[in-house]
Protein backbone atom coordinates (compact mmCIF):
# COMPACT_ATOMS: atom_id res chain seq x y z
CA UNK A 1 0.00 0.00 0.00
CA UNK A 2 2.70 2.36 1.09
CA UNK A 3 4.93 1.29 -1.76
CA UNK A 4 2.09 1.85 -4.20
CA UNK A 5 1.59 5.34 -2.92
CA UNK A 6 5.32 5.92 -3.05
CA UNK A 7 5.43 4.73 -6.61
CA UNK A 8 2.56 7.02 -7.55
CA UNK A 9 4.35 9.91 -5.92
CA UNK A 10 7.49 9.10 -7.81
CA UNK A 11 5.63 8.94 -11.11
CA UNK A 12 4.12 12.35 -10.47
CA UNK A 13 7.48 13.86 -9.53
CA UNK A 14 9.38 12.39 -12.44
CA UNK A 15 6.52 13.13 -14.80
CA UNK A 16 6.63 16.75 -13.70
CA UNK A 17 10.39 16.92 -14.10
CA UNK A 18 10.21 15.31 -17.53
CA UNK A 19 7.54 17.76 -18.64
CA UNK A 20 9.54 20.80 -17.55
CA UNK A 21 12.72 19.41 -19.09
CA UNK A 22 10.95 19.00 -22.37
CA UNK A 23 9.33 22.41 -22.02
CA UNK A 24 12.68 24.10 -21.45
CA UNK A 25 14.51 22.13 -24.09
CA UNK A 26 11.88 22.36 -26.81
CA UNK A 27 12.98 25.72 -28.27
CA UNK A 28 16.47 24.29 -28.67
CA UNK A 29 15.10 21.09 -30.20
CA UNK A 30 12.96 23.06 -32.57
CA UNK A 31 15.94 25.17 -33.59
CA UNK A 32 18.07 22.07 -34.09
CA UNK A 33 15.45 20.42 -36.27
CA UNK A 34 14.64 23.55 -38.25
CA UNK A 35 18.24 24.36 -39.12
CA UNK A 36 18.56 21.16 -41.14
CA UNK A 37 15.22 21.41 -42.96
CA UNK A 38 14.79 22.02 -46.62
CA UNK A 39 12.75 25.09 -47.64
CA UNK A 40 10.05 22.90 -49.17
CA UNK A 41 9.65 21.01 -45.90
CA UNK A 42 9.68 24.11 -43.70
CA UNK A 43 7.18 26.25 -45.59
CA UNK A 44 4.50 23.58 -46.14
CA UNK A 45 1.94 24.35 -43.45
CA UNK A 46 0.58 20.79 -43.43
CA UNK A 47 3.95 19.30 -42.43
CA UNK A 48 4.69 18.41 -38.84
CA UNK A 49 7.28 21.06 -37.79
CA UNK A 50 9.03 18.59 -35.44
CA UNK A 51 9.72 15.92 -38.05
CA UNK A 52 11.85 15.72 -41.17
CA UNK A 53 9.29 15.25 -43.92
CA UNK A 54 12.02 15.66 -46.51
CA UNK A 55 15.64 14.55 -46.02
CA UNK A 56 17.75 16.98 -43.91
CA UNK A 57 20.25 19.27 -45.59
CA UNK A 58 23.41 21.19 -44.67
CA UNK A 59 22.77 23.98 -47.19
CA UNK A 60 21.73 26.51 -44.57
CA UNK A 61 24.82 25.94 -42.44
CA UNK A 62 26.89 26.41 -45.56
CA UNK A 63 25.09 29.70 -46.22
CA UNK A 64 25.68 30.83 -42.64
CA UNK A 65 29.37 30.06 -42.50
CA UNK A 66 30.46 30.71 -46.07
CA UNK A 67 28.24 33.52 -47.31
CA UNK A 68 27.91 35.64 -44.18
CA UNK A 69 30.42 36.98 -41.65
CA UNK A 70 29.16 34.58 -39.01
CA UNK A 71 32.62 33.46 -37.87
CA UNK A 72 33.60 37.12 -37.49
CA UNK A 73 30.44 37.77 -35.44
CA UNK A 74 31.29 34.84 -33.22
CA UNK A 75 34.85 36.03 -32.76
CA UNK A 76 33.72 39.59 -31.99
CA UNK A 77 31.06 38.50 -29.53
CA UNK A 78 33.39 36.22 -27.62
CA UNK A 79 36.14 38.84 -27.56
CA UNK A 80 33.77 41.53 -26.30
CA UNK A 81 32.18 39.17 -23.82
CA UNK A 82 35.46 38.04 -22.29
CA UNK A 83 36.89 41.56 -22.09
CA UNK A 84 33.74 43.05 -20.60
CA UNK A 85 33.57 40.26 -18.01
CA UNK A 86 37.18 40.96 -17.03
CA UNK A 87 36.65 44.72 -16.83
CA UNK A 88 33.46 44.25 -14.84
CA UNK A 89 35.11 41.95 -12.33
CA UNK A 90 38.13 44.22 -11.93
CA UNK A 91 35.91 47.18 -11.09
CA UNK A 92 32.83 45.64 -9.47
CA UNK A 93 34.63 43.41 -6.96
CA UNK A 94 36.56 46.20 -5.21
CA UNK A 95 33.58 48.54 -5.55
CA UNK A 96 31.14 46.03 -4.07
CA UNK A 97 33.55 45.20 -1.27
CA UNK A 98 34.11 48.84 -0.38
CA UNK A 99 30.39 49.55 -0.33
CA UNK A 100 29.72 46.48 1.78
CA UNK A 101 32.29 47.46 4.38
CA UNK A 102 31.72 51.21 4.22
CA UNK A 103 28.96 51.18 6.75
CA UNK A 104 27.30 54.43 7.66
CA UNK A 105 25.27 56.78 5.61
CA UNK A 106 27.61 57.36 2.71
CA UNK A 107 28.11 53.74 1.82
CA UNK A 108 24.39 53.22 1.56
CA UNK A 109 23.81 56.38 -0.45
CA UNK A 110 26.55 55.60 -2.92
CA UNK A 111 25.17 52.08 -3.25
CA UNK A 112 21.71 53.38 -4.05
CA UNK A 113 23.21 55.93 -6.44
CA UNK A 114 24.98 53.17 -8.31
CA UNK A 115 21.83 51.16 -8.56
CA UNK A 116 19.93 54.15 -9.94
CA UNK A 117 22.51 54.40 -12.72
CA UNK A 118 21.64 50.86 -13.68
CA UNK A 119 17.99 51.87 -14.09
CA UNK A 120 18.72 54.35 -16.89
CA UNK A 121 17.86 52.39 -20.03
CA UNK A 122 20.20 52.06 -23.04
CA UNK A 123 17.44 53.44 -25.29
CA UNK A 124 17.98 56.75 -23.52
CA UNK A 125 21.75 56.57 -23.41
CA UNK A 126 22.73 55.39 -26.84
CA UNK A 127 22.68 58.83 -28.44
CA UNK A 128 24.90 60.61 -25.90
CA UNK A 129 27.14 57.56 -25.67
CA UNK A 130 27.42 57.52 -29.44
CA UNK A 131 28.96 61.01 -29.26
CA UNK A 132 31.40 59.76 -26.66
CA UNK A 133 32.32 56.82 -28.83
CA UNK A 134 32.82 59.06 -31.87
CA UNK A 135 34.88 61.52 -29.85
CA UNK A 136 37.17 58.65 -28.87
CA UNK A 137 37.37 57.49 -32.49
CA UNK A 138 35.96 54.10 -31.60
CA UNK A 139 32.88 54.10 -33.80
CA UNK A 140 32.62 51.13 -36.11
CA UNK A 141 34.88 49.10 -33.87
CA UNK A 142 34.28 46.33 -31.34
CA UNK A 143 36.19 48.45 -28.83
CA UNK A 144 33.25 50.85 -28.62
CA UNK A 145 31.19 48.02 -27.13
CA UNK A 146 34.01 46.92 -24.84
CA UNK A 147 33.94 50.48 -23.54
CA UNK A 148 30.19 50.91 -23.26
CA UNK A 149 28.91 47.56 -21.97
CA UNK A 150 30.52 47.97 -18.55
CA UNK A 151 28.20 50.96 -18.01
CA UNK A 152 25.38 48.43 -17.73
CA UNK A 153 27.22 45.51 -16.20
CA UNK A 154 29.24 47.28 -13.49
CA UNK A 155 26.39 48.92 -11.57
CA UNK A 156 24.40 45.72 -11.49
CA UNK A 157 27.39 43.57 -10.60
CA UNK A 158 28.56 45.97 -7.90
CA UNK A 159 25.15 45.83 -6.32
CA UNK A 160 25.00 42.07 -6.52
CA UNK A 161 28.48 41.55 -5.10
CA UNK A 162 27.82 44.07 -2.36
CA UNK A 163 25.06 41.78 -1.10
CA UNK A 164 27.39 38.80 -1.11
CA UNK A 165 30.18 40.62 0.69
CA UNK A 166 27.77 42.00 3.27
CA UNK A 167 26.68 38.48 4.10
CA UNK A 168 30.23 37.55 5.08
CA UNK A 169 30.84 38.36 8.72
CA UNK A 170 33.56 40.89 9.40
CA UNK A 171 34.83 38.46 12.06
CA UNK A 172 36.12 36.13 9.37
CA UNK A 173 38.27 38.80 7.78
CA UNK A 174 39.50 40.01 11.12
CA UNK A 175 40.35 36.47 12.14
CA UNK A 176 42.43 36.14 8.99
CA UNK A 177 44.15 39.44 9.74
CA UNK A 178 45.00 38.31 13.27
CA UNK A 179 46.13 34.99 11.82
CA UNK A 180 48.83 36.83 9.95
CA UNK A 181 47.42 38.09 6.68
CA UNK A 182 47.15 41.57 5.25
CA UNK A 183 43.69 42.90 4.56
CA UNK A 184 44.14 42.22 0.85
CA UNK A 185 45.21 38.63 1.48
CA UNK A 186 42.37 38.15 3.95
CA UNK A 187 40.04 39.35 1.21
CA UNK A 188 41.52 37.04 -1.39
CA UNK A 189 41.78 33.98 0.85
CA UNK A 190 38.59 34.24 2.86
CA UNK A 191 36.11 36.66 1.32
CA UNK A 192 36.60 35.71 -2.32
CA UNK A 193 36.18 31.94 -1.93
CA UNK A 194 33.02 32.55 0.07
CA UNK A 195 31.65 34.91 -2.59
CA UNK A 196 32.46 32.67 -5.52
CA UNK A 197 28.78 32.15 -6.24
CA UNK A 198 28.34 35.89 -6.54
CA UNK A 199 31.31 36.17 -8.87
CA UNK A 200 29.91 33.40 -11.04
CA UNK A 201 26.54 35.14 -11.11
CA UNK A 202 28.29 38.29 -12.28
CA UNK A 203 30.18 36.42 -14.99
CA UNK A 204 27.00 34.78 -16.24
CA UNK A 205 25.02 37.99 -16.16
CA UNK A 206 27.69 40.05 -17.88
CA UNK A 207 28.51 37.55 -20.58
CA UNK A 208 24.84 37.02 -21.38
CA UNK A 209 24.31 40.76 -21.50
CA UNK A 210 27.06 41.28 -24.07
CA UNK A 211 25.65 38.47 -26.19
CA UNK A 212 22.10 39.68 -26.42
CA UNK A 213 22.59 43.45 -26.23
CA UNK A 214 21.19 44.99 -29.39
CA UNK A 215 20.85 48.78 -29.34
CA UNK A 216 24.48 49.75 -28.74
CA UNK A 217 25.71 46.98 -31.02
CA UNK A 218 23.43 48.18 -33.77
CA UNK A 219 24.09 51.92 -33.48
CA UNK A 220 27.82 52.00 -32.82
CA UNK A 221 28.88 49.56 -35.52
CA UNK A 222 27.93 49.64 -39.15
CA UNK A 223 30.53 47.53 -40.93
CA UNK A 224 29.57 43.89 -41.12
CA UNK A 225 32.94 42.44 -40.07
CA UNK A 226 32.87 44.31 -36.73
CA UNK A 227 29.36 43.25 -35.76
CA UNK A 228 28.34 40.98 -32.94
CA UNK A 229 26.07 37.97 -33.20
CA UNK A 230 23.04 39.73 -31.81
CA UNK A 231 23.09 42.32 -34.61
CA UNK A 232 25.02 40.49 -37.31
CA UNK A 233 22.80 37.44 -37.56
CA UNK A 234 19.48 39.24 -38.05
CA UNK A 235 20.89 41.96 -40.34
CA UNK A 236 22.58 39.49 -42.67
CA UNK A 237 19.94 36.80 -42.67
CA UNK A 238 16.87 38.94 -43.05
CA UNK A 239 17.13 40.41 -46.48
CA UNK A 240 14.20 42.65 -47.25
CA UNK A 241 11.23 40.59 -46.26
CA UNK A 242 12.97 37.27 -46.77
CA UNK A 243 13.79 35.46 -43.55
CA UNK A 244 16.45 32.76 -43.88
CA UNK A 245 14.86 30.86 -41.02
CA UNK A 246 17.05 27.79 -41.06
CA UNK A 247 20.26 29.82 -41.05
CA UNK A 248 18.86 32.15 -38.40
CA UNK A 249 18.05 29.15 -36.23
CA UNK A 250 21.49 27.72 -36.81
CA UNK A 251 23.15 31.02 -35.93
CA UNK A 252 21.24 31.19 -32.68
CA UNK A 253 21.55 27.51 -31.73
CA UNK A 254 25.30 27.35 -32.28
CA UNK A 255 25.76 30.07 -29.66
CA UNK A 256 22.96 29.18 -27.30
CA UNK A 257 23.55 25.46 -26.85
CA UNK A 258 27.21 25.52 -25.70
CA UNK A 259 26.46 28.44 -23.39
CA UNK A 260 23.43 26.65 -22.01
CA UNK A 261 25.61 23.66 -21.21
CA UNK A 262 28.32 25.75 -19.54
CA UNK A 263 25.74 27.63 -17.48
CA UNK A 264 24.28 24.36 -16.29
CA UNK A 265 27.59 23.53 -14.68
CA UNK A 266 27.66 26.98 -13.10
CA UNK A 267 24.10 26.52 -11.93
CA UNK A 268 25.17 23.61 -9.71
CA UNK A 269 27.85 25.79 -8.22
CA UNK A 270 25.36 28.62 -7.68
CA UNK A 271 22.92 26.39 -5.86
CA UNK A 272 25.74 24.88 -3.80
CA UNK A 273 26.83 28.37 -2.88
CA UNK A 274 23.43 29.46 -1.74
CA UNK A 275 22.84 26.39 0.38
CA UNK A 276 26.31 26.40 1.92
CA UNK A 277 25.06 28.47 4.85
CA UNK A 278 26.82 28.08 8.17
CA UNK A 279 28.93 31.12 7.33
CA UNK A 280 29.02 31.91 11.00
CA UNK A 281 31.55 29.15 11.66
Amino acid sequence: MASLRQRAKRIVVYGGVAFFCFFSASPFLWMLITMFKQDRDLYRAQNNPFLFNDPPTLDHLRLLFLETNYTAFLRNSVLIGVLVVIITLIIAIPAGYSLARLTGRWGERVGIGIFLVYLVPPTLLFIPLFRVVVALGLNNSVWSLVLVYPTISIPFSTWLLMGFFKAIPMDLEEAAMVDGYSRLMAFLKVVMPLSLSGVIAVVVFTFTLTLHEFIYALTFISSSAQRTISVGVPTELIRGDVFYWQSLMAGAAIVAIPIGIVYTFFLDRLVAGFTMGAVKG
Binding site: D171, E174, A175, A176, M177, V178, Y181, G281
Partner: protein, 344 residues
Protein backbone atom coordinates in the same frame (compact mmCIF):
# COMPACT_ATOMS: atom_id res chain seq x y z
CA UNK B 1 58.35 41.83 32.92
CA UNK B 2 54.95 42.62 31.58
CA UNK B 3 54.17 41.00 28.27
CA UNK B 4 51.33 43.32 27.46
CA UNK B 5 51.19 46.84 28.73
CA UNK B 6 48.49 49.37 28.04
CA UNK B 7 49.12 53.01 28.81
CA UNK B 8 46.35 55.56 28.82
CA UNK B 9 44.46 53.80 26.08
CA UNK B 10 41.52 55.77 24.76
CA UNK B 11 39.21 54.95 21.90
CA UNK B 12 36.37 57.20 20.82
CA UNK B 13 33.72 56.33 18.28
CA UNK B 14 32.39 59.77 17.46
CA UNK B 15 31.01 61.08 20.73
CA UNK B 16 31.10 57.70 22.44
CA UNK B 17 34.10 57.01 24.63
CA UNK B 18 34.32 53.24 24.29
CA UNK B 19 37.63 53.04 26.12
CA UNK B 20 38.54 55.98 28.31
CA UNK B 21 42.09 56.06 29.57
CA UNK B 22 42.86 52.48 30.51
CA UNK B 23 46.15 51.42 32.09
CA UNK B 24 46.83 47.72 32.44
CA UNK B 25 49.77 45.44 32.52
CA UNK B 26 49.61 41.72 32.04
CA UNK B 27 52.42 39.52 33.30
CA UNK B 28 54.11 36.67 31.51
CA UNK B 29 51.95 33.55 31.64
CA UNK B 30 49.14 35.28 33.43
CA UNK B 31 45.44 34.86 32.71
CA UNK B 32 43.80 38.23 33.05
CA UNK B 33 40.04 38.45 32.78
CA UNK B 34 38.44 41.67 31.67
CA UNK B 35 34.98 41.69 33.18
CA UNK B 36 32.23 44.18 32.63
CA UNK B 37 28.65 44.66 31.51
CA UNK B 38 27.94 44.77 27.79
CA UNK B 39 28.99 48.03 26.22
CA UNK B 40 31.64 48.75 28.86
CA UNK B 41 34.41 48.80 26.25
CA UNK B 42 36.03 45.49 27.08
CA UNK B 43 35.83 44.14 23.55
CA UNK B 44 37.10 47.40 22.10
CA UNK B 45 40.04 47.24 24.50
CA UNK B 46 40.83 43.73 23.34
CA UNK B 47 40.49 44.68 19.68
CA UNK B 48 42.91 47.52 20.26
CA UNK B 49 45.42 45.04 21.62
CA UNK B 50 44.90 42.82 18.60
CA UNK B 51 45.30 45.78 16.25
CA UNK B 52 41.79 45.60 14.86
CA UNK B 53 41.06 49.08 16.24
CA UNK B 54 43.42 52.01 16.18
CA UNK B 55 43.30 53.77 19.54
CA UNK B 56 42.46 57.46 19.66
CA UNK B 57 45.19 57.96 22.24
CA UNK B 58 47.52 55.91 24.39
CA UNK B 59 49.92 53.10 23.79
CA UNK B 60 49.83 49.34 23.56
CA UNK B 61 53.09 47.52 24.24
CA UNK B 62 53.60 43.86 23.51
CA UNK B 63 56.85 42.36 24.74
CA UNK B 64 58.19 45.82 25.48
CA UNK B 65 57.59 47.08 21.96
CA UNK B 66 55.06 49.78 21.12
CA UNK B 67 52.74 48.22 18.58
CA UNK B 68 50.51 51.21 17.86
CA UNK B 69 50.05 51.50 14.11
CA UNK B 70 51.24 47.97 13.47
CA UNK B 71 48.72 45.79 11.63
CA UNK B 72 47.36 42.74 13.49
CA UNK B 73 49.59 40.37 11.53
CA UNK B 74 52.75 41.99 12.91
CA UNK B 75 51.75 41.71 16.56
CA UNK B 76 52.20 38.01 17.26
CA UNK B 77 48.85 37.81 18.98
CA UNK B 78 46.17 35.20 18.44
CA UNK B 79 42.51 35.76 19.02
CA UNK B 80 39.45 33.60 19.46
CA UNK B 81 36.30 35.42 18.42
CA UNK B 82 32.96 35.10 20.08
CA UNK B 83 31.56 33.67 16.87
CA UNK B 84 34.74 31.54 16.52
CA UNK B 85 35.07 32.87 12.96
CA UNK B 86 36.06 29.53 11.49
CA UNK B 87 36.53 29.72 7.75
CA UNK B 88 33.49 27.84 6.45
CA UNK B 89 35.07 26.92 3.11
CA UNK B 90 38.05 25.18 4.67
CA UNK B 91 38.37 21.88 6.48
CA UNK B 92 39.33 21.90 10.14
CA UNK B 93 42.86 20.98 9.12
CA UNK B 94 43.14 23.93 6.77
CA UNK B 95 41.56 26.22 9.33
CA UNK B 96 44.24 25.33 11.83
CA UNK B 97 46.99 25.43 9.23
CA UNK B 98 45.88 28.86 7.98
CA UNK B 99 48.01 30.95 10.38
CA UNK B 100 51.02 28.75 9.64
CA UNK B 101 50.63 29.31 5.93
CA UNK B 102 50.69 33.03 6.56
CA UNK B 103 54.01 32.73 8.33
CA UNK B 104 55.52 30.77 5.47
CA UNK B 105 58.93 29.15 5.57
CA UNK B 106 57.53 25.83 6.65
CA UNK B 107 57.49 22.54 4.79
CA UNK B 108 54.18 20.79 4.27
CA UNK B 109 55.38 18.03 6.57
CA UNK B 110 56.33 20.38 9.40
CA UNK B 111 53.02 22.17 9.04
CA UNK B 112 51.13 18.92 9.22
CA UNK B 113 53.01 17.96 12.35
CA UNK B 114 52.27 21.30 13.96
CA UNK B 115 48.57 21.11 13.15
CA UNK B 116 48.41 17.62 14.60
CA UNK B 117 50.19 18.80 17.73
CA UNK B 118 47.64 21.60 18.21
CA UNK B 119 44.75 19.27 17.46
CA UNK B 120 45.98 16.72 20.00
CA UNK B 121 46.21 19.44 22.68
CA UNK B 122 42.48 19.95 22.46
CA UNK B 123 41.47 16.49 21.35
CA UNK B 124 40.13 17.34 17.91
CA UNK B 125 42.39 15.04 15.85
CA UNK B 126 39.40 13.06 14.61
CA UNK B 127 37.74 16.19 13.21
CA UNK B 128 40.51 17.37 10.90
CA UNK B 129 38.75 16.37 7.67
CA UNK B 130 35.44 17.97 8.55
CA UNK B 131 34.09 21.36 7.59
CA UNK B 132 33.11 23.80 10.35
CA UNK B 133 29.40 23.37 9.63
CA UNK B 134 29.70 19.69 10.55
CA UNK B 135 30.93 20.51 14.06
CA UNK B 136 29.02 21.04 17.28
CA UNK B 137 29.39 24.26 19.27
CA UNK B 138 31.95 22.79 21.65
CA UNK B 139 33.98 21.34 18.80
CA UNK B 140 34.00 24.66 16.99
CA UNK B 141 35.23 26.38 20.10
CA UNK B 142 38.10 23.93 20.39
CA UNK B 143 39.02 24.22 16.75
CA UNK B 144 39.06 27.99 17.11
CA UNK B 145 41.41 27.62 20.07
CA UNK B 146 43.61 25.25 18.08
CA UNK B 147 43.85 27.76 15.29
CA UNK B 148 44.83 30.45 17.76
CA UNK B 149 47.47 28.31 19.45
CA UNK B 150 49.05 26.60 16.51
CA UNK B 151 51.69 29.23 15.93
CA UNK B 152 52.41 29.61 19.64
CA UNK B 153 51.60 33.29 19.93
CA UNK B 154 53.01 35.62 22.56
CA UNK B 155 49.54 36.63 23.64
CA UNK B 156 46.23 34.85 23.40
CA UNK B 157 43.11 36.99 23.29
CA UNK B 158 39.76 35.37 24.00
CA UNK B 159 36.59 37.33 23.31
CA UNK B 160 33.78 35.64 25.23
CA UNK B 161 34.71 32.28 23.75
CA UNK B 162 32.35 30.35 25.98
CA UNK B 163 29.22 32.40 25.59
CA UNK B 164 27.90 30.35 22.65
CA UNK B 165 28.06 27.10 24.59
CA UNK B 166 25.29 25.67 26.70
CA UNK B 167 25.65 25.93 30.47
CA UNK B 168 26.95 22.43 31.11
CA UNK B 169 29.49 22.54 28.33
CA UNK B 170 30.58 25.95 29.50
CA UNK B 171 31.66 24.63 32.89
CA UNK B 172 33.76 21.86 31.39
CA UNK B 173 35.20 24.15 28.72
CA UNK B 174 36.19 26.58 31.46
CA UNK B 175 37.98 23.88 33.34
CA UNK B 176 39.73 22.67 30.22
CA UNK B 177 40.71 26.14 29.17
CA UNK B 178 42.33 26.89 32.48
CA UNK B 179 44.27 23.64 32.74
CA UNK B 180 45.58 24.07 29.30
CA UNK B 181 46.50 27.73 29.75
CA UNK B 182 48.51 26.72 32.82
CA UNK B 183 50.22 23.95 30.91
CA UNK B 184 51.28 26.11 28.00
CA UNK B 185 51.95 29.11 30.22
CA UNK B 186 50.69 31.44 27.55
CA UNK B 187 49.82 35.01 28.45
CA UNK B 188 46.06 35.22 28.07
CA UNK B 189 43.50 37.98 28.12
CA UNK B 190 39.96 36.78 28.47
CA UNK B 191 37.00 39.07 27.96
CA UNK B 192 33.66 38.20 29.48
CA UNK B 193 30.52 39.64 31.01
CA UNK B 194 29.98 36.50 33.09
CA UNK B 195 31.31 36.96 36.60
CA UNK B 196 31.26 33.24 37.35
CA UNK B 197 33.56 32.69 34.40
CA UNK B 198 35.75 35.57 35.48
CA UNK B 199 36.03 34.46 39.11
CA UNK B 200 36.65 30.87 38.12
CA UNK B 201 39.29 31.51 35.47
CA UNK B 202 41.20 34.64 36.23
CA UNK B 203 44.53 34.99 37.97
CA UNK B 204 43.51 38.60 38.12
CA UNK B 205 40.34 40.34 37.06
CA UNK B 206 40.02 43.82 35.66
CA UNK B 207 36.50 45.11 36.17
CA UNK B 208 35.48 47.65 33.54
CA UNK B 209 32.59 50.04 33.32
CA UNK B 210 31.92 52.87 30.89
CA UNK B 211 35.32 52.60 29.29
CA UNK B 212 37.27 52.72 32.53
CA UNK B 213 38.94 50.04 34.60
CA UNK B 214 37.33 50.26 38.01
CA UNK B 215 39.49 47.74 39.81
CA UNK B 216 42.17 45.18 39.10
CA UNK B 217 42.94 42.37 41.47
CA UNK B 218 42.63 38.72 42.29
CA UNK B 219 39.11 37.32 42.41
CA UNK B 220 39.25 37.43 46.22
CA UNK B 221 40.35 41.05 46.25
CA UNK B 222 37.74 42.36 43.94
CA UNK B 223 34.99 40.39 45.63
CA UNK B 224 35.84 40.97 49.26
CA UNK B 225 37.65 44.26 48.99
CA UNK B 226 35.70 45.89 46.18
CA UNK B 227 37.22 49.23 45.36
CA UNK B 228 33.99 51.10 44.65
CA UNK B 229 30.25 50.74 44.59
CA UNK B 230 30.15 49.66 40.95
CA UNK B 231 32.45 46.71 41.51
CA UNK B 232 30.68 45.89 44.76
CA UNK B 233 27.24 45.75 43.20
CA UNK B 234 28.34 44.22 39.87
CA UNK B 235 29.97 41.23 41.52
CA UNK B 236 28.02 38.63 43.39
CA UNK B 237 24.53 37.43 42.75
CA UNK B 238 22.82 39.36 43.97
CA UNK B 239 25.34 42.17 44.33
CA UNK B 240 26.31 44.03 47.48
CA UNK B 241 23.60 45.79 49.48
CA UNK B 242 24.21 49.52 49.82
CA UNK B 243 22.68 51.65 52.50
CA UNK B 244 22.97 55.37 52.94
CA UNK B 245 24.26 56.76 56.21
CA UNK B 246 24.90 60.31 57.32
CA UNK B 247 28.53 60.39 56.23
CA UNK B 248 29.02 57.46 53.89
CA UNK B 249 27.53 54.48 52.09
CA UNK B 250 27.42 51.25 54.00
CA UNK B 251 27.77 48.01 52.07
CA UNK B 252 27.48 44.34 52.94
CA UNK B 253 27.04 41.21 50.87
CA UNK B 254 23.70 39.34 50.98
CA UNK B 255 25.35 36.16 52.25
CA UNK B 256 26.65 38.07 55.29
CA UNK B 257 23.21 39.38 56.12
CA UNK B 258 21.67 36.75 58.35
CA UNK B 259 18.78 36.44 60.79
CA UNK B 260 19.50 36.90 64.47
CA UNK B 261 18.93 33.18 65.08
CA UNK B 262 22.11 32.35 63.19
CA UNK B 263 24.20 34.73 65.30
CA UNK B 264 25.30 32.10 67.77
CA UNK B 265 28.98 32.33 68.52
CA UNK B 266 29.50 35.44 66.39
CA UNK B 267 30.58 38.73 67.79
CA UNK B 268 30.66 42.36 66.82
CA UNK B 269 27.27 42.36 65.25
CA UNK B 270 25.40 45.24 63.67
CA UNK B 271 21.69 44.57 63.60
CA UNK B 272 18.97 45.82 61.30
CA UNK B 273 15.30 45.20 61.19
CA UNK B 274 14.42 43.70 57.79
CA UNK B 275 10.84 44.00 56.60
CA UNK B 276 10.49 41.06 54.26
CA UNK B 277 8.65 41.64 50.99
CA UNK B 278 9.46 38.56 48.94
CA UNK B 279 11.24 35.23 49.27
CA UNK B 280 12.91 33.27 46.49
CA UNK B 281 13.68 29.65 47.16
CA UNK B 282 16.71 28.54 45.08
CA UNK B 283 17.47 25.13 46.54
CA UNK B 284 20.84 25.66 48.12
CA UNK B 285 19.94 29.21 49.14
CA UNK B 286 17.00 31.35 50.02
CA UNK B 287 16.95 34.93 48.81
CA UNK B 288 15.03 37.19 51.15
CA UNK B 289 14.09 40.55 49.67
CA UNK B 290 13.02 43.33 51.97
CA UNK B 291 13.50 46.89 53.10
CA UNK B 292 15.57 48.35 55.91
CA UNK B 293 15.05 51.83 57.31
CA UNK B 294 17.99 54.14 56.81
CA UNK B 295 18.59 57.90 56.68
CA UNK B 296 17.42 57.97 53.06
CA UNK B 297 14.17 56.25 54.00
CA UNK B 298 13.50 52.64 53.15
CA UNK B 299 16.36 50.87 51.39
CA UNK B 300 15.90 47.71 49.39
CA UNK B 301 18.07 44.98 50.81
CA UNK B 302 18.62 41.32 50.01
CA UNK B 303 19.72 38.54 52.26
CA UNK B 304 21.06 35.23 51.00
CA UNK B 305 20.37 32.49 53.50
CA UNK B 306 22.13 29.17 53.12
CA UNK B 307 19.91 26.11 53.45
CA UNK B 308 21.46 25.47 56.87
CA UNK B 309 19.46 28.40 58.21
CA UNK B 310 16.08 26.79 58.66
CA UNK B 311 14.20 29.67 60.30
CA UNK B 312 10.80 30.10 58.72
CA UNK B 313 10.34 33.54 57.24
CA UNK B 314 7.06 35.04 56.06
CA UNK B 315 6.73 37.98 53.76
CA UNK B 316 5.14 41.02 55.33
CA UNK B 317 6.78 40.38 58.70
CA UNK B 318 9.84 42.13 60.17
CA UNK B 319 12.81 40.16 61.48
CA UNK B 320 16.04 41.18 63.16
CA UNK B 321 19.00 40.58 60.84
CA UNK B 322 22.68 41.15 61.55
CA UNK B 323 25.99 41.68 59.78
CA UNK B 324 29.34 41.02 61.42
CA UNK B 325 31.34 44.23 61.59
CA UNK B 326 34.27 42.69 59.70
CA UNK B 327 31.95 42.28 56.70
CA UNK B 328 30.85 45.88 56.57
CA UNK B 329 32.32 48.01 53.80
CA UNK B 330 32.25 51.77 53.55
CA UNK B 331 32.11 53.89 50.42
CA UNK B 332 32.32 57.59 49.81
CA UNK B 333 28.88 59.06 49.18
CA UNK B 334 29.93 61.35 46.34
CA UNK B 335 32.50 59.30 44.46
CA UNK B 336 31.49 55.77 45.40
CA UNK B 337 35.08 54.80 46.19
CA UNK B 338 36.01 52.70 49.20
CA UNK B 339 36.78 54.61 52.39
CA UNK B 340 38.12 53.73 55.81
CA UNK B 341 35.66 52.26 58.27
CA UNK B 342 33.96 54.87 60.46
CA UNK B 343 33.01 54.16 63.99
CA UNK B 344 29.33 53.38 64.03
Amino acid sequence: MAVVEIRGLTKHFGQVKAVDGVDLSIQEGELLVILGPSGCGKTTLMRSIAGLEQPTAGEVLIGGRVVNGLPPRARQVAMVFQSYALYPHMTVFNNIAFPLKAQGGMTTEARKEKVEWAASLLGVEHLLDRKPRQLSGGERQRVALCRALVREPTVLLLDEPLSNLDAKLRASARDELQRFQRRLGITTIFVTHDQVEAMGLGDRIAVMNQGKVRQIGTPQEIYHESGDTFVATFLGSPGMNLMEREDCLLGFRPEHFLPQEAAEGRHNLTTFSLKVTRIEYLGADRLVYGVVDSVAGETRTVAKLPSTVTLSIESGESYPFFVQKQHLRFFDKATGTRTEPNPL
